[in-house]
Symmetry: C2
Subunit: 129 residues, 2 copies
Amino acid sequence: MLEAAIGKMRGGGYKATPQRTAVLRALAEEQHQSLEEIRARCPGVGLVTVYRTLDLLGELGIVRRLDLGDGARYEMAEDHHHHAICESCGDISEFEKCPLDPTLLPLEASDFEVRSHSLEVYGRCAACR
Amino acid sequence: MLEAAIGKMRGGGYKATPQRTAVLRALAEEQHQSLEEIRARCPGVGLVTVYRTLDLLGELGIVRRLDLGDGARYEMAEDHHHHAICESCGDISEFEKCPLDPTLLPLEASDFEVRSHSLEVYGRCAACR
DNA sequence: TTACATGCAAATGGTTTGCAAACAT
DNA sequence: ATGTTTGCAAACCATTTGCATGTAA
């Protein structure tokens, strides 16, 4: 899992430094973390380096950056899932099953080449109803 | 269209000032505009007021704030549509038809009450292929 | 060895806040 | 009259950049 990411980095001509792998490990521990959450998981790594590493990993397609209303969040791109955001308490949960019906995608017909997608569902969670 | 939004504002105990309606009119002119684009459409309104108005309209559920990778963008919440973002040139296009298959939504079964959703498709547009 | 990576401090830029003047009801 | 809204300037805070030092390959 991390091996693949490290391989991608090396393949791109980038060095697999301790800081970069530390950030990677932090990312693997939990979905959609904020920068501070990530940073808390790799205390030895400087703030600027975390930013630059996330940037690099983003370009390599290893991490995905998202903004669900509060600030920026990051997650491993590989594990495809979607978000359910409670508008009342702000809790974010995930679900794996993708309710997209590909035959209903109008882009199939057009010249747009679909590479990935992102789906967020907003509403109220069980606790807030 | 704007009438409904104005009514909602008044209903919430807020005044429908010229500045606020100017921002509303600006929003109605085009989808997913950046703050500066909105501002260009209502030159007389102060920067801070635009921010505060967008904030207010957001709370009232009239506008939706989104972040597609570049900064924040805003659009009228009422017109439900989705985004196709070209990863190469950054162009954003919309499509109306919603490819969501509601029966595949796993949340239906759980206690999460779905109010709205947001879908973005990433890939390459016709011009960039 | 050597080009790449790190980290501090400082710069930046979008967004928010304090406060006094203008306004709607 | 009274409470709301506006707008400037200043404060704020997340993110980026310059540059000297450290390090992976």
